[in-house]
Symmetry: C2
Subunit: 380 residues, 2 copies
Amino acid sequence: MKNFIFQNPTKLVFGKGQIEKISELIPQDVNLLITYGGGSVTKNGVYDQVKNALKGRSYTEFWGIEANPRVETLRKAIVLGKQKNINFILAVGGGSVLDGTKLIAAGIASDIDAWDIVLSGVAEKQIPFASIMTVPATGSEMNGAAVITREETQEKYGFGGDYPRFSILDPEVTYSLSEHQVACGLADAYTHVLEQYMTTPGQSRIMDRWAEGVLLTVIEIAPKIKENPKDYDLMADYMLSATLALNDFIRMGITQDWATHQIGHELTALNGITHGHSLAIVMPGLLRVLKQQKFDKLLQYGERIFNITEGSDDEKVNKAIEKTEEFYRSLGLTTRLSEEGVGEETIETIARRFNERGVAFGENQNVTGEVAREILNKCL
Amino acid sequence: MKNFIFQNPTKLVFGKGQIEKISELIPQDVNLLITYGGGSVTKNGVYDQVKNALKGRSYTEFWGIEANPRVETLRKAIVLGKQKNINFILAVGGGSVLDGTKLIAAGIASDIDAWDIVLSGVAEKQIPFASIMTVPATGSEMNGAAVITREETQEKYGFGGDYPRFSILDPEVTYSLSEHQVACGLADAYTHVLEQYMTTPGQSRIMDRWAEGVLLTVIEIAPKIKENPKDYDLMADYMLSATLALNDFIRMGITQDWATHQIGHELTALNGITHGHSLAIVMPGLLRVLKQQKFDKLLQYGERIFNITEGSDDEKVNKAIEKTEEFYRSLGLTTRLSEEGVGEETIETIARRFNERGVAFGENQNVTGEVAREILNKCL
């Protein structure tokens, strides 16, 4: 096990009827900004719950943070926040609203341009922020990361910084999600775990078990959610699993990968494929190309997650990769670029961008532009 | 899943050579008290590491916090702490030193007698404290709980309060533990999980998986540690598992039990049986008496932890309980009161005490004095 420092200060407020707690959770003496997405919260009742909880208090609203939040949009919120001396932000929405809010919080606290903050990789300072998370997927509600898109150049990069002061998760809010949103959320959570698990074996038995625990849970609940998308306990396990998939709890003392995300971000930036969906396309191809490197962990994964115990080791590993792609498809997602009308042109653009950035990704930092091309060709 | 609020602010600093980090982790401007146990830290090198890291700084030392820390001892530290205007405490030792330190931190911050704080169940205020944890077992390094003994009345009760500001865990420190200490630590961690897991089934799939993940890890590493008690990765997994067994991570949104601990504390208070050992004695008996109540969870546990799939449900459940007792014995611990020379007299005292306290324990609050007697008779 590698040395590590772990600290996750976010207060997680989970369950039915918890949204009203914002009245006590948000300090009384702050200049509050509330950030929203495109308006789904006005349909699922969350907006009314927020308004009722904050009755009698004054605050500013900022609407229109889009899926894959754009720096061009967020800069407007930063200007507004500075004008109004905002010193606390509540994000109400999915991972995109919260990710965007993390950059707004950094932009208000700094004189650096928002895109430069993203490119630097780390927000040195942020005003306090919190969330009401309505879409279980990104884990942003309990981590310090955010991913931002620059529309004019079709770029999408992540940065790190503070954790939310609190996040409220009410599983009932998920009842209004579409089947595609749930599928992408489950794929996102599943892939987050694989990015932290499908690495050098034998680093930590307990971290392996916890990663496998999230995978087994997601696999168990996914078909049941299709049948009963308003079953409270199912959606509660989905929501909690998505949080635990990316809140540092399953990566203590171990190496990580994240090459699938780097490639997936490009597919989203260039072709608009929903984030979770992009991961479902890239991960099987990546496992096929990096099979030898990940061989021993794939064996363990196949046995513990899919009960694959028959055949040669090579057959077992191939089967584990097939079962992974089957799982993504079982969610109702396509897993091939060709099914999404994406082809050679995008692949070449991504390979060129990786080469231009001059960095290689993945646990062993060997996913260069050439390897990314090879992976994407396997995803056709 | 039940509604819950989760927040664990402790900074976990884990790995080789991390003890020297106290020089930066402890604020510069505090009046520091360092608390120790009986002196094992002078033999395993920890004391020297602390002294070197704090060279040039002034601080007060308090020695002699015993196993099952006594309020009579801790009151002396509270007097000293008030005299010296102590406003930060570093506990260096095992769970007892840290549990004792949690009460010292409460006593210094209050005018209430230390035992009354324990009896109240909650420390309303504590000065900040942190730890260098040398014995993986109690999880005290990352939770808000402490258990204190009153020697003059042979009573042992717990209370809750703040979490450590930070805890440093260096697995190399465990190399000097005795085989019995390791056995008791593993039994303690295993039982902590069972207290949060062996309850009403179907409350949370992901919490079940994580609890099972700790159990499977402890079962896997226990025999290996016997063979290689100085294997770094083994001891790292042991140390991390003990922390994760009782830091709130596996009890989100679920009910808990803790009747085994209530009975075990009495055995420790009355007969001096080491805490982890007392749990190894009580848990199998408790499962036998409460078999029907815990039937469905025992079935799941038997299948997922011990691969018990043959026979009738009743046979499977009996087998799961047998395997649990076998596991404790495999650590090198006895699992019967008669083996420890404890008999009827102690059982009657415990039953009478439970009745006098007028409370019943366990998930369903049905472990009365009578049920405790029945459980202990099964442990003979």
